[in-house]
Symmetry: C2
Subunit: 391 residues, 2 copies
């Protein structure tokens, strides 16, 4: 299979590229290094030292004897993505090529516009490129569970049957996204669904939970193959951030009450899910949505797990309930379905104390690279500092 | 009230500007003349001769003794819209400033990208400008009934109560938009809803049906006050197009079976609805959706009405079922609610034979300006010419 990975230089994109390449597939990687730039502009950096894309590709050739083809450019600009799709002739396109941070999207009008323009226009150009040059290719799009928000009903996988005034229809599941970034993913989902309905494209939207983890079997092969690992307020996510905070003795930053409940998964399961999805493409014209996570935790419980594992590791860690910079429900119903990937064969890597401890070990090795300055949340969802929260 | 009209040089924007100005409000008009340019680039033109914005404003000052303030620029570019909002200090912002054609959005990747970038990024910059400079202003946003598509259940006004697995929530009504233009309006709606939820802005989304009509009391005051009237395949809409076709003896272009059912309203009622909405603003943080139309017709019946009225007028008109360039259901359930504007006091101007005949009279006066070349539908929803339709 010929697999094109958009955002293939990123946290998930690079390990995905190696996984497909190692599995015997022909892999192309598209990136404009925006993530490296955005993190750097925010004064932050990856915990793990990361090689350039060229160095990574060279190292992978040495270690695995396999070639990965790089395409450097911006999918939202000009005809770049159309040219790449035409030249590479992909069977599957795994699309991570988006601005992925909710707080980054809320920092200013320029951040908001860059997020929606990059994500929505980039994906729209991609859809048109597929229509023109690879209409049979399978688009595997990374969405987010955050598209749904926290409704007071069970969350289904993309669609819901609604009975209303004595009639029935199965319709897109209503969305209540919690940031301008999450909105960009909702816009994408709507555009992709349309491209399947009207142009007959085939796509799977992977509404992913919060990913944690640092290493995959491939990143461990050579230090030049390490993937990035962010722990700052903008690009770091809950468990990854807590583990870093634990290592430096920074009180774990639980936002507000900590009852915010989300789906989580190990980076190893991201790879499994994307592989399973690519191996089982939908029919032409079909738009599928898979909810991609393995476990549900609330943020307070997650902090407690890290605190406990760190304690076993000899670290004395505090949990701090900081003022929530976001506007979100801090206590709510949450029961999302996630059976489709399981029925394709996903075998979950559940969160264990051992796993947290192994993360702590890796972080400990890079401890001197941790900058305490970028940890505290400063980006507010509302113009003025919040006292209020939704209840 | 200080009312800022975005897209105030357009078909609906210009009559709306005069209506508010005539009603004693302070009116500012924002436009970049994109609509004039897009129509011209398509080789088409307004049936009615239209003055420039400056000429219109001069004529309005002469006729009505009132000042309308022009702001010329693109709301999706730079900081223009923020500067206008800061300077004008609006109480209400009526937002027509979007690329409004479904087929135009489907012509090419560039048309698709321009549509979504102009509409979504323009509206996003507007939301941020309101947040920064006029947080109490009421955004009156023109949406479209086409956001909903044609689900097999009754369409509610923006939100629906869903019972699912024994729990209930009231959530955004699921959308199935039928073009990349309609998608841009769905994206807007989602962004605006978020801005109300999270930033506490106040907005009303007017999901408007298909507008017909040429004149309003204000446009009749002076020929320099005429509004544009498009009849080409891209910017013309069903009834307006049929009336022009009838006048030149062109068989009425019903797409496919003609069972496509839509909400319609007279341009006079657009003005009424926008006035009523502005006069009754929502609370801070409230996002309302009004379905803005007065009657439901299917396209075949509408053609039949025009054929009959034209017959009474001594014209012998044929109806032609042309191959549908769009991908849409040609026979479907359609029962959208539209009570909110009625309960604010809307008194519908229903479609009568007399009204069609008066449209035919006005069109007859401009008959020598009609170009037959721009009438036939050429823009296809799918890459290849269609044989297929959804059933």
């Amino acid at each position: 299979m010929r697999v094109l990975i958009l955002g293939g230089d990123g946290y998930l994109g690079w390990p995905t590229a190696m996984r497909f390449s190692g599995g015997g597939h022909e892999v192309g990687v598209v990136d404009n290094f925006a993530r490296r730039r955005w993190v750097e502009e925010a004064g932050a950096h990856s915990l793990t030292p990361i090689a350039t894309l060229d160095e990574r590709i060279d190292a992978w050739r040495e270690v695995a004897g396999r070639e990965i083809v790089p395409y450097v450019g911006d999918i939202s600009e000009g005809t770049f993505v159309a040219e790449v799709v035409r030249e590479f002739e992909p069977d599957a396109i795994v699309h991570y090529g988006e601005q992925p941070s909710a707080p980054w999207s809320m920092k200013s009008v320029d951040h908001a516009v860059t997020t929606q323009a990059n994500n929505v226009i980039g994906s729209l150009k991609l859809l048109w490129a597929i229509r023109e040059h690879a209409p049979d290719a399978h688009l595997v799009k990374l969405g987010t569970m955050g598209e749904y928000g926290t409704p007071n009903i069970d969350i289904e996988e993309g669609f819901i049957e609604i009975e209303h005034n004595g009639r029935r229809d199965t319709l897109p599941f209503p969305k209540l996204p919690g940031s301008l970034y999450h909105l960009s993913k909702v816009h994408d989902s709507n555009n992709i669904h349309f491209a399947c309905r009207v142009w007959g494209l085939r796509a799977t939207d992977l509404n992913q939970g919060v990913v944690y983890g640092i290493e995959t079997p491939e990143t461990r092969l050579d230090e030049r193959l390490a993937t990035r690992f962010d722990y700052d307020e903008l690009f770091g996510t809950a468990l990854n951030r807590f583990a870093v905070q634990a290592v430096i003795g920074y009180p774990l930053t639980v936002y507000g009450k900590g009852g915010q409940t989300r789906g989580f998964l190990n980076i190893l399961d991201t790879l499994q899910c994307v592989e399973l999805t690519a191996a089982n493409p939908p029919a032409a014209g079909e738009y599928r949505v898979f909810n991609q996570f393995t476990e549900v935790f609330n943020v307070g419980d997650l902090a407690e797990k890290v605190r406990h594992a760190a304690g076993e590791h000899g670290m004395d860690v505090q949990v701090d309930h900081v003022t929530n910079p976001r506007l979100e429900l801090e206590e709510h119903y949450y029961n999302p379905t996630h059976t489709k990937l399981l029925s394709l064969g996903l075998r979950p890597t559940l969160l264990s104390e051992t796993l947290i401890e192994s993360m702590l070990d890796v972080i400990q090795r890079h401890r001197d690279r941790i900058s305490e300055d970028v940890i505290a949340p400063v980006t507010q969802w509302r113009p003025e500092p919040l006292g209020q929260t939704l209840t």
